[in-house]
Symmetry: C2
Subunit: 137 residues, 2 copies
Amino acid sequence: MIDPLKSLPGYALRRASAAMLGDLATRLAPLDLRATEAAIVVLIEANPGITQSELCRALDVQRANMTPLIARLDHRGLVARTAVDGRSQGLALTPAGLDLHRAVRVAMDAHETGLVDRIPAPHRAAFMAALAALWGD
Amino acid sequence: MIDPLKSLPGYALRRASAAMLGDLATRLAPLDLRATEAAIVVLIEANPGITQSELCRALDVQRANMTPLIARLDHRGLVARTAVDGRSQGLALTPAGLDLHRAVRVAMDAHETGLVDRIPAPHRAAFMAALAALWGD
DNA sequence: TATTGTTATACTCTATAACTATA
DNA sequence: TATAGTTATAGAGTATAACAATA
């Protein structure tokens, strides 16, 4: 079978990303969190008082799609909302949220370590630089 | 804003992939093709007579999800089915499909060239090697 | 028994438009 | 006027289960 896609960097990027996202999803499944939810938990922990709109900009998620994500974390008792002004609420992790955050970091660190370990050591720095060049702007 | 995600290779991989997929989608939109459909067109052109199941294995798409993809290309008159045996059909591009394939290659080549151009030249080989290490399990 | 293609279904992710209330 | 959050909705992507026909 001739596969003209194998040699295309863009296609390889998509397939590698999908494979790694699948690995992360497997690791987060026991926590009943999806990848985006885990990213939200990490960002709230690092930035207590952050608003939904700020999360949207950091993660490149639409405001309309953030609403059900935060609502689910709220209903699970992981996130608390505190009014900043009349229209926005600062978000912070509850004690249960902080506990979950520790488990998230364990799962994410294992994922990232496993990923980096698969890349030959001399290629790692160039790999990160290339991703930054594609992601930025 | 503290962003602990920025330094994570897995997260950067996901964001870079999403950015590049968006670029490809924009380039394919005038052809009314999605990225997976374009990949199918390229694979059929390179492998006339290929079956749906073989496409599924090459692209890592479930059989159940391939059905509507091929059906749409068929209804648009881009793909012709020829019975191989009683249960599978070989796929080939029609003349209209071959015309479209040329436009697909133009769009994909522009996409890939733009992508590679954004990566500093000394990092390109390592980038491809790293992706291959992550993709091929 | 295993494979091909199909249908039905469901869940996630993403995108847009429109609404409210607040600044 | 612009921003924050919400609701509703629609389009894609992806996953499983079950079925008929064929090998």
